[in-house]
Symmetry: C2
Subunit: 315 residues, 2 copies
């Protein structure tokens, strides 16, 4: 029988799970709730039970399962230890070892943003690239670096956390991380709204965004509809985004930059907005970057998790 | 007989060469001139001949030589192809393949800054760290990234070229790369002098540096001697250096940052100068960095080159 893999994307609300064949074909997808009570003690037994039940239902023998990959919302050391995952209530959780004990299977664990990058590099927008940067533009800015086909984990699992590179001096509002002037304060969906609010504060003309609450989507919609203030704000947003990505590209020299997350619903216009400042700021030797949109959406996690364990068992 | 390795550091003026045993012990070091005439066509035959002569003189049989590692001043693709090395007159030179043909030995080629990082990680200031950033503060700012024990090469061999991350908006003097506001415009030895000149231009008090040409060493010497303007300039230099390193650390999450190059002759004071701005700008999850000075000096190249070929032959 063909060998199987499980990919698990452990989030704060739900656990997305997938059954894959060893070529990466997705055979089944499902999800279970993340039960966070008792300091998150029930999460891994729930996952193990769901894997067992699925294998039983499909008639898959244990010896035909290569292993389980799992992405978690936090830094991960040595593909197992999670020093802290605030959204799960975990602290110093040896998640890989524990899930391996519960399932009797090989388990590899990674940070969810890194795992998503691996998924996009394997089957998504970054397919075919061995050196890429995935940037998720959502409530915050997440990142994952694939260097020569492998996740760049860093010393403490914080490699690729590019949302917190220092972008601007003189910022007065603190970032969630406690510092001032982080990339994500400008380039996240929340950041786009902040940037726009500042543009509007200095805007003398009319704007449909004036005097009301608005979202990142509202901002891009208003710009698409021709609102001059919104267009100026989007241009400013693109300047920040391009500058931050240029800095990352100058450090890493990626073949491709793959953008994902809610902000990318704006579509290809995002590339038009960021490219001028990217070109202005990037080291010329690193300027030749392919621009891609992430294509796996919220399935990137299970796909990348499956790839993580596949790479592990293949050595 | 114990196996041997050759490490070659190919510079614009001289070729440094070393004979190593397979544990990395240095058995012999020497150098030959870099003959750049004829578009650099003589360089590799000269190196091959010198390796052959040394092996003969030492009575080393060919089958006891594991291979040759070589660092070159330019980007390198697939450990062999050098698209351009201005200082050597090379263009699209398949250096690894050619030297392998000339010597009959396995050859691996890398960028000299990356190779130096590998050398420092193996036997120098970064010994024992699998994730580190080497930064060379000289005429320019060079860099090399070791991620999980391996060089991060990037798509076109420009990985770790951190001297050209965009650090400052509004810069009016162009960097050598053609952009404005690159890290090395402030953090190199030349950059330190530029920073100091700007501080002096606004300095109302006395200074021993006023009205004369001075070097980076003069600047640090003046600061050490108590010159207030020089001290202010050094502080400003440290702010730039700390900020640039914080950005790199936030992308890469290194265990250690190893500083080398001429500016480090200033010694440990450099760390005192950069740490405040590093702490202010770095992502807290990446703040725990060990600070080291490079220890191999201009031998880092031959040591790293030997390690490169050792890693290659060991798979």
């Amino acid at each position: 029988m063909a060998k199987k893999l499980f990919g698990v994307d452990l989030g704060g609300t739900t656990v997305k799970m997938g059954l894959f064949d060893e070529t990466g074909g997705r055979e089944q997808e499902w999800e279970i709730p993340t039960r966070k009570e008792d300091g998150g003690e029930r999460i891994l037994p729930d996952i193990a039970e769901s894997i067992r039940a699925t294998a039983d239902a499909q008639g898959i023998a244990k010896e035909d399962i290569l292993g389980v990959g799992m992405g978690v919302p936090g830094a991960v050391i040595d593909e197992s230890l999670v020093p802290q995952a605030v959204n799960l209530g975990w602290k110093n959780k040896d998640a890989g070892k524990e899930l391996s004990r519960l399932t009797g299977l090989p388990v590899a664990v990674g940070n969810d943003a890194n795992i998503a990058a691996l998924g996009e590099a394997w089957q998504g927008g970054g397919k075919g690239f061995r050196n890429l940067l995935l940037v998720t533009l959502g409530t915050g800015v997440g990142g994952g670096i694939i260097a020569d086909g492998r996740i760049l984990t860093g010393a403490a699992g914080a490699g690729g956390e590019i949302g917190h590179i220092h972008l601007e001096d003189g910022e007065t509002e603190a970032c969630g991380c406690g510092q001032y002037g982080c990339f994500e304060e400008y380039a996240s969906a929340t950041g786009a709204v902040r940037v726009a609010r500042r543009v509007l504060a200095d805007w003398d003309g009319e704007s449909t965004l004036k005097g009301r609450e608005f979202t990142c989507k509202d901002l891009f919609d208003a710009a698409a509809a021709g609102d001059a203030a919104a267009k100026a704000a989007c241009k400013k947003y693109g300047d920040y985004l391009g500058k931050g990505l240029a800095i990352c590209a100058s450090v890493l020299n990626p073949e491709a930059i793959v953008l994902g997350g809610g902000v990318t619903k704006a579509g290809e216009v995002l590339f038009d907005l960021l490219k001028p400042s990217f070109a202005r700021c990037v080291f010329p030797g690193c300027a030749a970057v392919e621009w891609k949109l992430a294509t796996l959406g919220n399935q990137a996690g299970i796909v990348g998790a499956a790839k993580l364990i596949l790479d592990r068992v293949n050595g």
